[in-house]
């Protein structure tokens, strides 16, 4: 029996490990970025009677032969902690795949304890596991758990000290000694099988290939892929029995959710719900409370209390001393704080809550599967829907969420397309109230631009878009504890990392104003706007305002006398022409970790210029063809 110095939770994606981690880790969870990567992981302290030990939620991996960044980080974390106790979390409904990973970890001489999670789901699906026999064969403790309701968590904690490191040779001997139930024949567990198992994935180009080590190459405790799968099959044959069952209603709904005929209408309904709930909740906080709080109390107090009115410092911090609302003041502690706290924070709080509910219900993975084919055409994968959904609320968390995408190319494409083509919720809200009859058409035109420019960028931008494996969890009722933990970790991470960038962005805009750069830009672009797009020069101030808040820019446009088609064109331009300051700040922040700020910003600016002139110009051509421009 050994007391662990560090605990690593390892598993495949979507086996409910995060829920298990939340149960074990309590409230002191922090999310970190693995050095040199955009892979996030969470860690905390596991409180025990004899003190506390660090516990790390390692990124999900299908094997210890990494085929993507997250898996490489998982393997590196395992290798960096030779004395750690590994809690290998298995999805009991798909025990074969989890056992394969468990055996691989045992081959690396680590103390292991197995948590058989989703044990209730397995029973419901007719998978009966003889836990004691499995523990005997593996030579490590095996604890059935149901993380979502806490079943088995205390037992798992209590048995951490019993984690063992049996040699794989001993496991092979025990399995061979016992023989399978019912005297079935089975492949030899001593001879390597050169053919890969059915669900072994093909690694992407340039990435590490599958594990084809042999015992001779890696020492006597290591198995080849075929040998390992034969061993897993043999263990399963001795410990697991399967009953015939019908699919439950939630299983059926889960299947219908990925079938295009029913899944697409359902996705349209879910996205309607996401957007409406987002608008209602974010609007409730921003317009209902933060606007009066900032405009009626904070701004007047700061304008009178801050010294040195008329100085550059006053302009930078407070902004315009005669401003009557926080948006128009343009100071770091007025407009900056208002945008960061009053606009972005309610938006991300709402969206992260919705996203956590969708993830915990098992729907998000299904939406990713459903949309994978469409996103593949532009070099992305189905999981690009997450930043896209977030961006329809607020581009800032949308850009932040691109770090979950696999390659630098995918992150660059998504960041660029989101910041250029996806209007945020506030902007959409104002569009709907001012020009409801045109909003749908504008949105369709922007979405078409998203995919057209995505297809072009996919051809122009070098890099890979590897195939991904989406492991679909069962549909289930979201648990409040899971949702609140995910929400608190994400919001905490966002507040500490993104909000300073938003404030900095406002400061930069102020400096540009002070230096006359903004006025120069306005005068330079005025003839271009009128000549190329056919909109009045009076739209320029609105476009500049759009750098601070695009929703208010659209509102400003309503005061300009224009034809309906000019209104549509100018609203499209507000969407296309430049990301708002908060998004711009996030592009800089994320760009540092996704190929470099210059590459990301340069690429995004080049794209938006092309989009503005090509897509904006095309709109005018359509208008001329229809006789309305």
């Amino acid at each position: 029996m050994s007391v662990p110095s560090r605990v690593l939770l390892m598993r495949h994606p979507n086996v409910g490990k995060s829920a298990l981690f939340n149960r074990l880790a309590g409230t002191s969870i922090t999310e970190s970025n693995y050095p040199g990567t955009t892979v996030d992981y969470t860690e905390s302290e596991l409180v025990r009677s004899d003190g506390s030990v660090p516990i790390v939620d390692v990124p999900g991996t299908f094997s210890l032969s990494p085929s993507d960044r997250a898996e490489a980080v998982a393997v590196e974390m395992l290798e960096d902690s030779p004395a750690a106790t590994v809690v290998c979390v298995l999805d009991a409904t798909q025990i074969e795949r989890g056992l394969n990973l468990a055996v691989e970890i045992l081959e690396r001489d680590r103390d292991v304890i197995v948590a058989l999670n989703m044990f209730d789901e397995a029973r419901r699906e007719g998978v009966d596991i003889d836990v004691d026999r499995l523990s005997e064969l593996l030579g490590v403790p095996v604890v059935p758990t149901i993380a979502v309701d806490g079943t088995g968590i205390d037992a798992l904690q209590a048995r951490l000290d019993d984690a063992r490191n049996p040699s794989v040779q001993r496991i092979l001997e025990r399995v061979a000694d016992e023989g399978p139930d019912g005297g079935e024949s089975e492949p030899s567990i001593a001879v390597a099988d050169p053919s890969p198992p059915v669900d072994e994935r093909t690694p992407a180009d340039g990435e590490t290939g599958g594990d084809d080590r042999t015992p001779d190459e890696d020492g006597e405790n290591a198995l080849g892929t075929g040998q390992r799968w034969n061993l897993v099959d043999a263990i399963v044959a001795r410990t697991v029995s399967y009953r015939e069952t019908d699919a439950s209603l939630s299983d059926q709904i889960g299947r219908l959710a990925v079938s295009p005929r029913t899944g697409i209408p359902f996705a349209v309904a879910v996205l309607y719900g996401v957007w409406t709930v987002f608008s209602a909740v974010a609007g409730f906080f921003t317009d209902g409370y933060f606007v009066p709080l900032f405009d009626d109390y904070w701004l007047p107090w700061l304008q009178s209390a801050f010294p040195m009115e008329g100085s550059w410092l006053y302009f930078l911090v407070v902004g315009d001393p005669t401003a009557t609302n926080s948006f128009e003041a343009f100071g770091v502690l007025t407009s900056g704080l208002f945008v960061a706290i009053g606009v972005v924070l309610p938006a991300i709080l709402t969206l992260y809550a919705i996203l956590a509910v969708l993830e915990d219900s098992g729907y998000m993975a299904r939406l990713a599967v459903l949309l994978d084919a469409a996103f593949r055409r532009i070099g992305l994968d189905g999981f690009a829907i997450v930043p896209m959904v977030l961006s329809f609320g607020c581009n800032v968390p949308g850009v932040a969420a691109t770090r979950s995408l696999e390659t630098e190319k995918q992150r660059f494409l998504t960041m660029t397309l989101l910041s250029v083509f996806i209007p945020c919720g506030a902007q959409l809200g104002v569009m709907l109230s001012l020009i409801p009859q045109y909003t749908g058409y504008i949105l369709l035109y922007l979405l078409a631009g998203f995919f057209v420019f995505g297809a072009v960028l996919n051809r122009l931008v070098p890099g890979s878009a590897p195939d991904i494996v989406i492991d679909i969890p069962p549909m289930r009722q979201p648990r409040v504890a899971n949702v609140t933990t995910k929400l608190s970790v994400r919001v905490r991470g966002f507040v500490t990392t993104a909000i300073p960038f938003v404030l900095l962005g406002v400061a930069v805009v102020n400096v540009l104003y002070l230096g006359g750069a903004v006025e120069w830009l306005a005068n330079t672009f005025r003839p271009v706007l009128s000549g190329w797009f056919g909109v009045p020069g009076e739209t320029v101030p609105a476009l500049i305002a759009g750098f601070m808040r695009k929703d208010l820019a659209v509102a400003q446009l309503s005061a300009v006398s224009m034809t309906p088609f000019q209104t549509i064109t100018s609203v499209v331009m507000v969407s296309l022409y430049f990301p708002c300051v908060a998004t711009f700040a996030m592009l800089i922040k994320e760009g540092r970790e996704s190929g470099g700020v210059l590459k990301v910003l340069g690429g995004a600016l080049a794209t938006l210029l092309a989009a503005l002139f090509v897509w904006g110009g095309l709109l005018r051509l359509i208008g001329i063809a229809l006789g309305v421009a």
Partner: protein, 144 residues
């Protein structure tokens, strides 16, 4: 044919017709407002809402035509109800949250004003959501 095929089919037909009317309103065609003093087809993103209702109606019809004897057709019907509840629930939430801030100088509106905001007229989805509760019976079907 199971006895519940007809009411589910009827619900599908009604939902489809209402969805088409909402979409028609969304593209600018006129409809009486409010209808019978209880139903209102107003507000934003009508085209989107109408499309969801129309699709839900089609899924009810598809489930009913499947006979409702197998789990798949029952799941299709429950899924259609979920779509209606999503639209109705988010509409109601927007109404309640819009009524809580009291406006200039008033942080929280008086309770009677909030309750009044929940009164009629209702969107079609809210009324259909009540009818769709009948399909909850299929969620009680458990495996042997």
């Amino acid at each position: 044919m199971r006895w519940d095929t007809l009411p589910v089919g009827g619900l599908g037909a009604i939902t489809t017709v209402i969805g088409v009317i909402v979409m028609a309103r969304g593209v600018g065609l006129g409809t009486p407002e409010p209808i019978l003093g209880v139903v209102t087809i107003s507000g934003s993103i009508l085209l989107w809402r109408g499309a969801v209702l129309t699709a839900a109606g089609a899924m009810y019809l598809s489930g009913a035509s499947g006979g409702l004897t197998d789990r798949e057709s029952q799941a299709t019907v429950v899924m259609a109800s979920l779509m209606i509840w999503v639209v109705a629930g988010s509409d109601l939430l927007a109404t309640v949250l819009g009524a809580i801030p009291g406006g200039s100088g008033v942080w929280i509106a008086p309770p009677e004003a909030i309750v009044a905001a929940l009164g009629p007229p209702y969107t079609p989805a809210v009324l259909l959501a009540v009818l769709a509760l009948a399909t909850l019976r299929y969620t009680g079907v458990t495996r042997p």
